[in-house]
Amino acid sequence: MPIAVIQRFVSILLLVGSAATAAKLFRSGLWRKYRVFSFYFVFRIPNSIWPLVVGDESPVYFWLFLITSPVFVIAYVLVVAELYRLILEKYRGLQTMSRWAMYLATGLSVLLSVLALLPHFTPAMPQSSRLLGYEYAIERGIDFSLVVFILLLLLFLSRFPIPLSRNVVVHAGIFSLYFLTAALGLLLHALWGIRLSEEVNLFLSGTSLVCVAAWLTLLNPSGELVRAPLPVFGFGDEGRVLRNLDTVNAALLNVSRRV
């Protein structure tokens, strides 16, 4: 079966999956919590339609791709920022520490992605366009830095006994996988040029489809429940107070017997 036919089939499945996920988010009420993420999925619907309608050899396809790709990149950054805010907004005591963690994670992730962009790839295969080459490089850098940012954010969270909902863990995991495979796919574009662009595009579409399917099946309202609560240091420990009183009583009785 030609790759173009498989690609078309995967694109149709992506459209259906994106629409179903957007519908689920709005119907379940999860969109109120994951606003940016929900509107990202709404935006995916028209963005999944035009590649099916516009021929990929036409200049319209090229310019639509160049215009919509940066919009997606901005959406990715906003979704990760939303995830970060969702996890930490409840914990005011951590404001300073989480700000430090964010600065460190941002600095490290940008540095690593810049280092990853330094090797200049000059593929033997011709590239379709210089503009596309720059766009792929920028997107590759941002996708990789978002993966590193999520990794460092999760590393910071693992140092604290913060109970996370299943949805947040699933969300972070799937997005990390999505960004990582997108960065890898864009690197393959840079290395192999137009010779293997169909295969690379199929790889990217395929992993997108897997991620969309995972979001569709794993994100649901019951996943918002948080597991074991934190221990509380407060006044409600009646057993401890009673035991202390018993100890004091026993000591006083002991003293009074000696007297």
């Binding site: 005591g93 300073t96 990794l151 604290f160 995991g173």
Partner: protein
Amino acid sequence: MLDAMGVAILIAAGVAVALGLVIRKVAFSHSRLPVTAEWIGDLSKDRYRPMLRLLDGSDLEFLAEQPGFDRRMAAKLREQRCRIFKGYLQRLEVDFGRATVALKVLMLQSREDRPDLATALLRHQLAFGWGMALARTRLFLYGWGVGSVDVSGLVGVFDQVQSELRGALPLGVAA
């Protein structure tokens, strides 16, 4: 080109494995603190006072002057002391870990930002981590008869943390 792709795939695989491990830790970690706060009252640097002189070498110097005390006996004594010292180090690490987790819980429950606790926690954890690495290295060398181990700094850091914890507890919580 294949080398570049191989390196890229290796890096991606490494990042994926790291992500999987971190996600697993975040998803399945449970707070290991006891439900009550009584254990905070048991935290004390006095428990670790014996560590301060366990490996100071004065006992070995005294025994070396005694008739019949040979190198084999010295090595055996050093080995026993190392084993006891390791036990103390492990206990100290556990107590420090619990104290820092308790501080983190207090930060999580606070209704206001706690930059003071954030600074103290970071400073103490770095100092303790470094001190523990040094202590373990010196303990290893002591086992071979080289040098001694001074943990007064390490116990001092622990003492500061448990003082911070007692100071940060809500009023009325016994400590």
